[in-house]
Structures are given as structure tokens and as C-alpha cells.
Amino acid sequence: MKEMQKNNGKEYWRSLDQIADTPEFRSFLEREFPENASEMTNPVTRRNFLGLMGASIAFAGLVSCRKPVQKIVPYVKAPEDMIPGIPKYYASTATLGSHAYGVLVESHGGRPTKIEGNEKHPSSLGKTNAFLQAEVLNVYDPDRAKSVSNEGTDAQWSDFVAFWKEKHSQFTESRGEGLAVISGEFSSPTLHRLYETFKSVFPKASWVIDEPVSYKNVYQGLETATGKRVRAKHHFDKAKVVLSIDNDFLGLEQESITGNKGFAKGRKVETEKDEMNRLYIVESSFSVTGSMSDHRKRLSQNQIERFVRQIASALGVLTNASENVVDPAWVNALVKDLKKNPGKSIVVAGHRQTAATHSIVFAINESLSNNGNTVTYHSDPYLVHDGDSIADVIKNASKLDTVIVLGSNPVYNSTAGQNFGEAYKKIKNRITLSLYKDETAALSTWHIHQAHFLESWGDAVAVDGTISTIQPLIQPLYNGKTNTEVLNLITSAEDKDCHDILNETWQDILKTKTLAKNWRRILHDGVHAENKSLITVKADGQAINNLVKSSDISATSLSKDNLEIVFYPSAKTYDGRYVNNGWLQEAPDPVTKISWDNAALISPKTAEELGVKTRDLVFINVGGKELEIVAHVLPGQADYVISLEVGMGRKDYGRIADGAGFNVNTLKPSDSFSVTGARITPTGRTYVLANTQDHSSMENRPLIREATLEEYKKDPEFAPNMVKHPPLKSLWEEYPYTEGYQWGMAIDLNTCSGCNACVIACQSENNVPIVGKEQVEKGREMHWMRMDRYFSGDLDNPEMVYQPVACQHCENAPCEQVCPVQATLHDKEGLNVMTYNRCVGTRYCSNNCPYKVRRFNFFNYTKDYPETIKMVQNPDVTVRFRGVMEKCTYCTQRIQAAKIGAKNEGRTLVDGEVVTACQQACPADAIVFGNINDPESKVTKVKQQNRNYAMLGELNVKPRTTYLAKLRNPNPEIVKQTETVS
């Protein structure tokens, strides 16, 4: 009532309904009854009951066409194109900061259960990474914020709308004085349109970008170098020589999917006559990219920056020759290699590097003719990566009236010396939109619960300018709001439906008022393919020189009393956003193999000098701040450099996040990813780390077989010949396995980068439970697919190798012979199958498995699943009970589904029709699966390669999974150098 008076002055009631339509009354209605149940307040007659039922059926029909319907109603009569048990796939887009990844989401009866890459999308090419695989779990996270809250008490969205309408008129008048928005980086036509509207409606308001793993430096460096706002797309597949400057393009950089795919293409070797690419990397701590490198230098961040100038000088890009950070002979060999491959090499720098470094790298690529060949540049008018300074917000906090946080978490991200939280509390109205009741939400006056992207409409732009659409797979579980909706409300004070907002943008993009047919196709494909924005750019030498000069760097000599700290994105939480995701938390870090924690990584030499051991709790002091964290000694880490993983150490966030790891943001400088002048002192206490792999040496066992390209050319059969054994005879009469489909797998260790995508994909597909830190520490993790990681060579600067290991499906399976109840057996297609119902749980099979891939349900891990988590389970895969053994099945449910499909069509399976979850996710295409009885199948061909070997084949177990030996391609010149030195 109050409101009506305010808006229109004197107001007459037109009807009682109108008075009733106040927020108070509506909220009363909604709390008392489920939404839309208000019709039922009429006396229920048979007639209107039937009417409602009819409406339900109509709505049910709408759900299936993915129209933006408002109600979720169970099927009374099944819609025509929905066959129970047959999943449907819808294209959508996941975003990570300014990056977009097209995805195909598998939906079972209206609930998304699995995410795959969208082949049509240029940033995913049908593949995924671990984060994308895990997104589906986030939708169903029971710890998500479930309602709007105001001052800590539950409220309604309509309350907020009413609140904002009032505020909106105030800010329209003041043109945004005292208003600030904090968001992450984004590149989306709709958000960008609203962003522009916001800027024009509230010109005096500020817009701050808060992105912990920021790509600001990358974009700024390119902008300086080219004078244009561009994004770079790297074509690793075309590069013969790759130089990575602290760029983890196979792991945690945003281009990781295309990075893996392209790099693997350039590294693929089929016969000893093939050539492969060569990777040089300089980095501070070991990354999965470092594990794939042919030459690796451990440098501090300070050294890396100077190394870039050294190499730029050597290439003649920069004239002011700086000192030699790295042995000039090594650099010369590298430069020679780069110059030998003009237009076929690629130099990439990581997001941690300064804008100056990125501009130099642009110039280097130009000088090597790489620009336009291996690196292309694309304009992106929708990109927002830079805004007003957060420091100003902190400074002027008491003068600010309202701050709106859109999906970001500035209180947690607050870096050393900022203390955003304190300043934030001084602002009068603090509005936060986020998925969780996070640190910022806890301090906010209004918290709006965000919709997950699988519940949202939206759009996003890929690195090459391709626009893709985000479409919902499910009604928002808790009626959350998207940032599009909230931003639209903020700018226009209109509470509009997300789809309608999107429509307005797309009417412009498609230049039509009716979206009908075109729009349907775009939604179906997930991408708007016509919109490519390739542009040619030239280096502006003067601008680069100026930038380089202005950001001059001096050498810091590091020592045990002057350590450098480097902050790196987490493989578990990225920047903290996935911190409540159990799959990611439990997945061992690809490099350290630590699960459920982060640690301060220290090189063996530095650790010895400091008297620190793995699992010791230490104090890190830098810039007057102190952090207590557990230490982990990691071979391959640069000396005197401590690496800290961001995104962990939460309180009151969610049941997964709480208590896992340490918050390292308190030490992080606001404008850089590294800081020097740190000291470490042991506390004398220790901390329990759940590490899934205690032993990192292969003990000279021929498990991962590796050679250099040169050795391979000399001895193409090195891999199978590495083990000599007597003729193998079986105790039992062997089944021939010569008829029908015979399933087998080959994994190319030469292209597998160890990125963990397969591990999470398998977990998602096969309902693999998470067990928690305590159980992982005991050695009871359940992953069917594990990523073995070994170090070799020098302790300080070793090589790192990966091997994905799942059930090998031995034809002569040792597990089967010992099972007393025949719960594990072979089928005629060579699958080692588990009968969960028959399993008594003697664990004898696991004992007798030489690969130790079997997983036992020591407890009833799935007993306490919240209702929502039950929804993420794949209905095609049994959820296992306590006391039974489980293991990789080669995705038998997918084999069956394909076989049934083929049988219905009266044909046999075609090669490539059955794709296992790990294979489907693998961005490097390192995993090949198929019928080894078909001489033409891809897997047969791969297994015929001379690098093919069976791990532990000498046990006569006849594994169906075989590996292709790993190759390295070192520069002969550098090899000669090291030989003469040693």
C-alpha cells in the first residue's frame, strides 16, 4: 500500500485484488502455498481440478521443447518425443571468467546428469576439462543459497524488486552517484548490452572488475601492442616449436581444452618416420604442461620476466639487451629452433605475466611470422575486463550508498592490505548475487541466490568471437536469478524474464524482430557460427617499447631469507568458485596428488635449507602478513620460490568447502601474482595431508615406457622390447575371444598431459562416490580412473610423467580366478564385468589385481546423499552399496546402449559409435576405444603401432588396455650442451 502511494500520489483502489498484490500479501501467499497454487484457494470443484490437470499436461509438453516455461510439473502423459530412459542432449555454454566453452548436456528425464563438449564450439571442440565435467554437480549442490535474504532473514525476490524500484529512481536522479557494481570479467553480448545501458543510465556509478585469476594483463598487453582490443587464439596444432612462458596451456590456463587438443595433434606420432613438435617451458612450479615439455627451466617469476627480455633481445625484438638470466647457449639453441620454423612456432605467456611481457610476446610472435598463422587475433566488442579500481571503492566506502556484487566474491578475494570486508561493511546497501552464501554474501544486506548456468538463459563469446548461447536444462532448483536478470533489473527497474532479455539482444545480433527459425537452429547448435571476427593486427613498436621501459624490472636475488611467492589457480577450485564441489576437491591435484587441501610448494633444496619437510606446518611472513600453511616438498619447483594455490580455506561456505585447505589470499598482492621478500619458519607442528600417491618413483620398473624421438627412430620397437620374459603359458584353457565385438582400449602416453578431465568424467558418468579427506588419507579413494604421476631424473629438476590407469580388462584376469563366488567374470566380448549383487566383498580380487584398480566400498558412502545429489546420478549406472567391489567397466552402459540402438536398426556397430566417458572428455584424444576384433577400427590400428605395449604384460594377464610409449623430442643442440657440461 505504501508503495502505491509513493508511485502515483493519490491512488484509488480499483479492486481488492490490487491491494492484495503487495509484496507482503504475495509473500504470505507464496509461503503458505507453493507458487501458482493460489488458484486452488477457490473452492475446489471437479471442473477446475480437471482444468488444472489439463494445464499440467500442457506444461509438461512445453518442458520437452525447452521453451522458457515457468512451472515444473511431473509428466502425467509423456510428451511425444520423450522416451523414458533415453537421454537427450542440449547445447549450452559454460563460462569461466571471460572465456566460454560450448557444452552438450545430457539430460535424463529433464535433469542434467553429464556434460560433454560441443563439437561445434571453437573453445571446446567436443572436449571438456575437469571443471566443465564437475559443473553438473554444482547445480545440485545442497549447500547452494536457496532463497533471497535480507539482513540475514529469508525474503522474496519480489521484496528485492520492490526495494530496487525505489533505489532505481533515486539513482536515476543522481545519475548513479554512490552506486558501484562489482563483477567478474565477462564477454557476453547480453551482459555487455546491459553493461552499456548501466553506464548510460548511471554515468557516475563505478563498475569494478574483481577476477582473482585475471586475464587483464593478457588483454592489456595485446591492446598496447596492437592498439586494438583483441583476444588471441593459439593454434598449437600448427606449431612445430612451442615456447611457453609460465603458461599452463594444457592445465589451468583458459585455453586448456584447445591447447590440449592442438598440442596433441602436433605431438601425434604414428610411426618412427613421423615428426613431432617440441615444447620449451620456463615456469616456477611444475605444471602438467611442464610435464609434457622437452626442455624445462625452473625460474622465479622475477627471472621469467627478465628471461622474456633476454629472448626478445636474442631475437632482435628488443634492442636493450638485458643480462642473461638463462645460459645463453640454451637460449641461442632455442632461438635457432624458433627461427628455423617461421610461422610454425608459437610463443605463449601465462596470465601471471605482466602486460609488458605479453606485448613483447606479441612482438616475438610477429617477428617469427607466427601472427596470423599459429596465433590469430580476434576483436571482441563484448569483452569487459577492466573497470574502476577496487581500491577506490575501499577508500570511498563510507560515501557509497549501494554496491552490487554480481557473481563475484570480493570479500574472499580481498588481497593483502586491502581488507575489502571491513570497507564493505561501511557501505549502506550491500547487494550480492551468488550461488552460495559466501564470504561476501555473509556481509551483505541483500543476498540474491544465483541460478546455475544450467538453469539460465544467456550468451557468451569465445576467444575467436563466436557467440554461443546458454540455455537452461532445468528449471532453477531454488528459483535463483541470473546475473542477466539482476543486471536488467538494476538498469531498468523492470523485472523481466531472462529469455526476454536475451531476445532483445539477439534481435539486434540477428537483425530481425522474429527469432523463430534461426534462433531455434542457434539454440540447437549452441553457437552462432557466422560471427567470426578475425582481424589482422600489427605491432606498434613504439608503444611496446614505452610499456617495456615503464615496467622496467630489476633482478632480485632470492635466498632462503628472501623467498618469492607465486600464486597459481587451483586445479580443484579454480579461483575458489568450485570450492564446494566434491568431485574436484577429492580429485588429486595433477602435480602434487594432494586431495582436499592446498599446500605451500617448496623445492627439495630450499626445503632442506629451511629445515622443512612435507606435512610440516609453517609460517609464511611477507609484507607484515603471516599465514600458517602446510608445506609440501615438490621436485621441479624453482628454488626459493613458494607456490601457493588460491581458492581454498573457507569457513561457513558449505559442507565440502569448510576446513579444506588454507586461504592464501591474505598474502597476495592486489596487482600481481607474485611477491618477494617472504620468509618461512616452521611451527614445529605437522598437518595431515591426504595424498593419493605417496610414492613418486617408478623404481626402474617398465611401467611408463619412454624414449626420445631419436632413440625411437633408431629402435622403433623399444617399447614392447623393454621387457624380456619367458614364453607365457596359461594354467587354464583360454577362451579364444575371436568372435563378435572384442572391446579394447589404447592410451597414448605421448599426448596425455595428465589434466584430470578423464578422472572427473569417469566419476560423473559412473556415479563414483566421494569419500572425504579422512578416507582418502587412509587410501580409500574410489576413482575408477586414476592418474599415476612419477618423477624421473634429477631430484631438483626432474621430468614428470603421467599414466591414466583404470581396469585393464585382462583376458587372463587374476581377479576372476580368485573370486570365490564368481562375482567378477569375463563376458564374451572380453569385458571384465562385476556383478555387484553377487559380490560378497572378500577383497581378494583387489589383492590379486596387479594394477590395483579395484575399489572397495568400505562404508556405505552413498547412504547420506542429499536428495539433490541423488538427482545427479547417472540412471544407467548402479549406485553401489557398502561391502562390494567396483571398478572401471569400460562404460558398459554406453556399450549396451549403442548395441541396442544398432540392433533396433538391424545392423552391427560402427567404429566410433561407442565412446567411453574418459575418451569423450579427453581433450588430447589420447584415449582410443573400440572393437579390437575389427581390423579396420581405430583402436586396432593404434594397437598395431610399434610403440604399443601392455603394462605388466609379462604376467600373462593379457590386458585389453595397452599404452603407447611416451616420446620426448629434445633439441639435439641442448642435449649436446648438457652432455659436455656433465
Binding site: 613418486s696 612419477y790 580368485v818 570365490p820 563366488v821 581378494y844 562404508f859
Partner: protein, 465 residues
């Protein structure tokens, strides 16, 4: 029973000392079951049955929560439960060996110890059988082990050594029980004849199966006993051989060894004799049976302990030799890891207890010293428990792929089950010595000088050996 006789023990003295007569033997043994319950017995029984309750409580919790309450993990799928199983089966060897094998070899000194050695066997096998039952993940479907004809035509896997185990231990238990019971019949009849209460009369009457001690009865009885002894003898060898195939037929380095069957049998006899020794020394002291279980018996047993200890030691060294000689790097690593790896402490406990300590029995003085042999018999059993621990846990914790290596450490529930199993064992044993004749009266009478047809009268030495 008296101090003055103790001093004159000599190798040459008869098996039974103290100038026993048939009736004194009967009195001595039967009175233990007939007299009032002593305070000591009640105390011991209270202690043992409390521990037994701990076992049942732990089992209850285990079934409720799952095998996760143990310290098991992924590479180490078997831990203390299976160690305990093999340990108890091993102990269960001595009884039948003493009764059957020594009987066939006409080793008459066995008569004083065979009865409770057999009882010990039965109780040890009962303790052993507890573990395979409870160590499975889903105890409620444990009947899948049995070859029960069913409509799905599902059978157990006859290739699995675990199934062989099930049959081997089951058969052994059944035959041992029959053998023990057959031996008991004449003594039960003696008790029946001496019974003063109605209940004793009825119960012993039923279980003595109408034994009257007639000539014909003795003739049939002795033949039956001989046949059962013949039947039991291969079982003594087979049961632990089969248990060893659980490990020997697997592919795991440290398990995959052909030496296992004889090595396990030797180890079982070794630990079984040690356990008989421990119990005999206590019973002898508590019930004053020094004249029946004489120093000669003890010394003979010590000799067997020493011999089997050396056989076990030989096996340990032979494993190392083969690990080197085979040229199999995995096996070589497994054994080096045993002796010098994370579990070296367990390995060296095993070596000290099983190989080094029994060597003291080369000395006749130590061989005949009650405190020394008591301690040695206990250390042998500690050593033999560790032998199974070393074999099972060290091999599993570090097998083929270093990536999956992990350390196993027991939890409270692992320990409580082991301690509880001793509770069960002693509870049964205490009930046995309280209610049944713990020495085979009829057989001991058979080796008295008076039983020898050539036996003269007092003072005339008879042929008793």
C-alpha cells in the same frame, strides 16, 4: 605333585612319574572336573569371557558399520583379520599332529598332552573360522560361498583358493572334532561312573555312548581311533597347505611362491607346539600335573619347536634366495622391502622370535627350564603372528605399481578383534578343563609301567618307552 620328586627328573625316567597307579590317575584327573569351582578359575573365566564379549561387541559394530572400521585401504585389502585367521589355523595344527601323527609313529609320550592339544586345536579352529566369516564386506550374503543348488544355477568358483580354504578348514574341523570325541569316550564313561549328581550321570551317560570298557568295545574303539588317526594325518598337512594357496596362487610378489605349502605347515606345527607348551605349562602348574606332564614331555616338545623353527628359518632364507635367483625384479624388491622397508620392524620381530630365540634350545639346561620355555613359547607365537602379518601386509602394501603403494596401520577394532579372539579361545578352553578330563586317562594308563605285560612289581623297571 610334590617338591621332592621334582628334583629327580631324568631323561631315563618313565613317562609318568610319582609312582602313579591306575586309580591315582583317575582320581587326579577326574577330581578336577568334580571338585568345587576354584576362585582362580572364576577369575580367569571372568577375564576371558569379558574379552570374548569384546569380540562379539566388535563384530556387532563391524557388521553395523562396515569393514571400513579397520585400517584396510586400497592396496592392503586384507589386514589383521586374515592375519588372525592364518594365525589361529596354524595354532590349530598341533592338536591333530600330536594325536594322530605321533600316534601313528607310536610316540607314547604324547598321551599326557594329546587331549588338551586336541581341544586347543578345536578352539583355535573355531577362533580362526570367525575371521573369514566377518571379514567380508557383506556378511549377510556369506552363504554364496556354499555350493547350494539354486534356480539360477549359480555356483561358487571352484578355482578360487578361498573356496578350497573353506572346504579344507571345514573338513579339518569336522575330523578333529570326531577324533577328539572318539578319544573322549572311555574317559566320559569313567566320569559317568564316578558321577554323583543326576545331571552329570545323564549327560555323561549320553555322551559316553554306553561305553562299558568291554574287550570287544576296546577292540573296535582302537581300530576306529587308528582309522581316524590315519584320516587326520593328511589333513594336518593339507589344511595349511591349502591356506597357503590363498597366497601362493596369486600373482602378487611375496605371495606368488611355490615354497609356501611346506613352509606354512612347518610354521603351523611350530606355532601349534608353542601354544600347547604355553597352555600345558599353565595347566600343569595350576592343577599340579607335574607327574603326568613331565619334563620329558616338555623337553620333547621343545625339540620339535626348535626343529620346526629352523625349518621356518630355512624357508625365510630360501625365499630370499629364490627372489634373487629368479631374476624377477618385482619379487626381489618385495623381499628387500620386507627386510629393509617400512615394515622392517615387523620382519625383524619375526626373525628374532622365530629363528633366533628357538636356538636357545640347543642347550639342555635351557630346554629344561620352565621359565625359559614359557617365555620362548610365547615369543614363538608372537613371531608367528608377525610372520603372517609380514607375508600378508608387506606384500600387499607394495606390489607392482608404486603409484598405489600405501601404508597400512591397524585401528582399535583390528586390535580388539585379535584380543577378543583370545578371549573366545580361553573361554572355551577354561570351560573344557573345568568340565572334561583334560588328560586322556585311558591312554595315560596305557603307558604306565603297570600296563606293560612285562611289568614286574614295585622296584622292577618295566619297558615303558
Amino acid at each position: 605333585m610334590n617338591k621332592e620328586t621334582e628334583a629327580v627328573y631324568d631323561y631315563q625316567v618313565p613317562l609318568i612319574t610319582g609312582n602313579q597307579t591306575f586309580s591315582s590317575i583317575t582320581d587326579r584327573i577326574s577330581s578336577i572336573t568334580e571338585s568345587k569351582t576354584t576362585k582362580e578359575w572364576l577369575l580367569l573365566f571372568g577375564l576371558a569371557s569379558s574379552l570374548m564379549l569384546l569380540l562379539f561387541g566388535s563384530i556387532g559394530y563391524l557388521v553395523w558399520e562396515g569393514t571400513g572400521i579397520w585400517g584396510l585401504n586400497n592396496p592392503v585389502g586384507w589386514g589383521w583379520a586374515i592375519v588372525n585367521f592364518v594365525f589361529w589355523v596354524g595354532i590349530g595344527h598341533a592338536g591333530t599332529l600330536i594325536s594322530a601323527v605321533l600316534f601313528l609313529f607310536r610316540q607314547k609320550w604324547r598321551t599326557s598332552i594329546n587331549r588338551f592339544a586336541e581341544a586347543m586345536t578345536l578352539f583355535a579352529v573355531i577362533c580362526a573360522l570367525v575371521f573369514p566369516g566377518i571379514h567380508v564386506g557383506r556378511i549377510w550374503v556369506v552363504y554364496y560361498f556354499f555350493p547350494i543348488p539354486n534356480q539360477m544355477d549359480m555356483w561358487p568358483n571352484f578355482r578360487s583358493p578361498l573356496l578350497w580354504d573353506f572346504f579344507a578348514v571345514g573338513t579339518y574341523f569336522t575330523v578333529s572334532l570326531l577324533f577328539w570325541y572318539t578319544g573322549l569316550i572311555p574317559d566320559l564313561a569313567t566320569l559317568r561312573d564316578r558321577a554323583k549328581t543326576k545331571i552329570r550321570k545323564v549327560l555323561f551317560g549320553i555322551f559316553s555312548l554306553g561305553w562299558r570298557g568291554g574287550n570287544k568295545q576296546w577292540k573296535h574303539y582302537e581300530l576306529a581311533y587308528l582309522l581316524l588317526a590315519g584320516l587326520s594325518t593328511p589333513l594336518v598337512l593339507s589344511v595349511h597347505s591349502v591356506v597357503s594357496t590363498d597366497f601362493a596362487t596369486s600373482v602378487i610378489p611375496g605371495w606368488h611362491t611355490t615354497i609356501f605349502p611346506p613352509y606354512f605347515v612347518a610354521g603351523a606345527i611350530f606355532s601349534g607346539f608353542a601354544m600347547v607348551m604355553t597352555l600345558a605349562l599353565i595347566a600343569r602348574r595350576v592343577y599340579h600335573l607335574e607327574h603326568i606332564i613331565t619334563m620329558t614331555h616338555l623337553e620333547n616338545m621343545n625339540k620339535i619347536i626348535m626343529v620346526t623353527g629352523m625349518m621356518v628359518g630355512y624357508s625365510y632364507s630360501m625365499e630370499f634366495f629364490i627372489a634373487w635367483y629368479s631374476g624377477n625384479p618385482y619379487e626381489a624388491y618385495a623381499f628387500i622391502n620386507r627386510a629393509f622397508g617400512e615394515y622392517a620392524w615387523a620382519y625383524w620381530i619375526m626373525i628374532s622370535c622365530n629363528v633366533i630365540i628357538p636356538q636357545i634350545f640347543w642347550s639342555r639346561r635351557l630346554r629344561r627350564s620352565i621359565p625359559v620355555m614359557f617365555i620362548a613359547s610365547i615369543t614363538v607365537n608372537i613371531g608367528m603372528w608377525f610372520e603372517r602379518f609380514v607375508i600378508i601386509v608387506t606384500s600387499l602394501s607394495r606390489d607392482f605399481l608404486p603409484s598405489s603403494w600405501d601404508y597400512y596401520s591397524p585401528t582399535f577394532w583390528d586390535v580388539s578383534l585379535l584380543i577378543g579372539s583370545f578371549g573366545l579361545f580361553f573361554t572355551l578352553f577354561l570351560l573344557f578343563i573345568r568340565h572334561l578330563p583334560m588328560v586322556a586317562m585311558s591312554e595315560v594308563k596305557g603307558v604306565l609301567p603297570q600296563a606293560n605285560p612285562h611289568h614286574g612289581h614295585n622296584g622292577h623297571e618295566g619297558e615303558s618307552k
